[in-house]
């Protein structure tokens, strides 16, 4: 029905519309670029007030007849302009042109109005997301700074009293939490992805190139992202100290998948080590083993086996719980 449809942003100071994107049938001249309202007739009032402009024939309509040549040069003879509003201001316009006079029906106008409404909603959502990403970034920055302060205070307070190994383990867990916060804000989404969480922690431990990581995109809420960061950190530390990664040929496979459907969907993750020395269950159950037993979301669902070829750890959690903030 239309010959050309475009979208343009309004510049209130210059009273112009900047048209960047659009669609047109063959033979229509391009209208990309900046256009002054006043070159096209009496449009300003309606545009700024947010009224839809419906013009059946630009050469006879009282609002545009005086500037009909400008419209003719664009081959726009029938025009609908729908303002897109944000916080009570027109921020953009949806423009639809026909290359000959045409009587726009109420259905035509209604359809275009609802299209503009959707653009408006999408616009608002995008701006909100951008705002949120900015805030998330600031929060992560402050949290990581606070973790850095905690690390400094702990190191300086406990240096004489705690073992160097204990202090080191503490600092490394703080760093793993830091990587979890990074993963929570690196995405454009409000959630972290399991891939980012794993990448951050494995990078932090310096073993990313010795691990094969494979699985679908899974979004994680804050609790799951942070407890999984700590969990993976413990597994990585153990692998480096006692497991497959203390041998040069050692390797770790990390694979995850989604099983089941609907509410019953579960995330299962397998950590399998190979190429290392024979492993035996630890004699002492320290904080590290507790962290591992807490699993992906902090509520359990872990199965640790000390196989001949290396440690195998399997974790499982309800997907809904993983995704929850």
């Amino acid at each position: 029905m239309a010959s050309r449809a475009s979208f343009g942003e309004l510049d209130h100071t210059r009273e112009t519309v900047r048209i960047e994107i659009g669609w047109s049938i063959e033979g229509m001249p391009s209208i990309e670029g900046e256009h002054r309202f006043s070159d096209y007739g009496e449009l300003r009032g309606a545009l700024l007030d947010g009224d839809v402009l419906v013009i059946d024939d630009t050469s006879t309509d009282a609002r545009t007849a005086a500037d009909a040549t400008a419209w003719t040069s664009l081959r726009a003879h029938a025009v609908v302009i729908v303002p897109v509003r944000e916080r009570g201001r027109t921020v953009a316009v949806l423009l639809v042109h026909k290359d000959m006079p045409y009587h726009w029906t109420d259905e035509d106008v209604g359809f275009l109005r609802s299209a503009a409404d959707r653009l408006e909603a999408a616009n608002a959502r995008r701006r909100e997301d951008e705002q949120q990403a900015l805030i998330n970034g600031e929060i992560a920055h402050r949290l990581k700074n606070a973790l850095s302060m905690v690390q400094a205070i702990a190191t300086q307070t406990l240096r004489g009293d705690a073992s160097p190994e204990g202090l080191e383990a503490f600092a490394h867990r703080l760093q793993a939490l830091g990587h979890g916060h990074d993963a929570l804000t690196s995405g454009r989404m409000k959630a972290a992805t399991l891939n980012d969480v794993l990448g951050g922690v494995l990078d932090g431990a310096g073993i990313r190139d010795r691990c094969t990581v494979h699985g679908p995109t899974v979004e994680m809420g804050a609790r799951a992202a942070l407890s999984t960061s700590l969990l993976i950190h413990e597994l990585a530390t153990n692998a480096i100290k006692y497991g497959a990664l203390c041998a040069t040929a050692g390797h770790v496979d990390v694979a995850w998948q989604i099983e089941g459907q609907g509410d019953e969907c579960r995330l299962t993750l397998d950590w399998s080590e190979r190429g290392g020395p024979a492993v035996t269950p630890p004699t002492r159950k320290g904080f590290g083993s507790k962290l591992i037993r807490l699993g992906l979301v902090g509520t359990g669902g872990s199965d640790i086996r000390y196989d001949e070829e290396g440690l195998r750890a399997a974790f499982s959690a309800r997907l809904a719980e993983v995704e929850q903030a």
């Binding site: 920055h141 973790l147 850095s148 302060m149 300086q156 990587h179 690196s186």
Partner: protein
């Protein structure tokens, strides 16, 4: 030459630590001194530049990015690379990592909270390379 020895020409390698937050600065100084480095400290970028203008023996600058004042750590790093090309640079922050294109040549980025062992390892590697290059044949 052992890569674990931070000494240069028989002297301890000198690092300049630039961090506005006093507790973290103190802890980083402690880390570097325990690893055998001699440490100079600055609380912002212009303080660091003033020190570099009078000291010709600094081998490495370890700087935070977010600091008050006209220059941040990225500006400082760029200035160091331009005015004192042989000095090695480690850039740290609790915020987002700088883009690769913003990083001065040879500079290394690390995120906070810092992995001290990794920082010390990097400092030793950087000063050991310099040492090897600066030794007469």
């Amino acid at each position: 030459m052992s890569t674990t020895d931070p000494r240069i020409d028989g002297h301890t390698a000198i690092v300049l630590i630039v961090e506005d937050e006093p507790l973290q600065r103190l802890d980083m100084i402690d880390m570097a001194e325990r690893a055998g480095f001699e440490v100079l400290e600055a609380h912002d970028a212009s303080h660091a530049v003033a020190l570099l203008e009078i000291r010709t023996d600094v081998r490495l600058v370890l700087t935070d990015i977010d600091m008050p004042g006209a220059m941040d750590g990225m500006n400082l790093a760029a200035a160091v690379r331009k005015r004192w090309p042989p000095i090695e640079i480690i850039i740290i922050t609790a915020g987002p990592a700088p883009a690769q294109s913003e990083m001065p040549e040879r500079a290394v980025f690390m995120t906070k909270p810092l992995n001290y062992e990794r920082v010390v390892e990097t400092m030793k590697r950087m000063t050991a390379i310099q040492n090897a290059q600066s030794r007469p044949r």
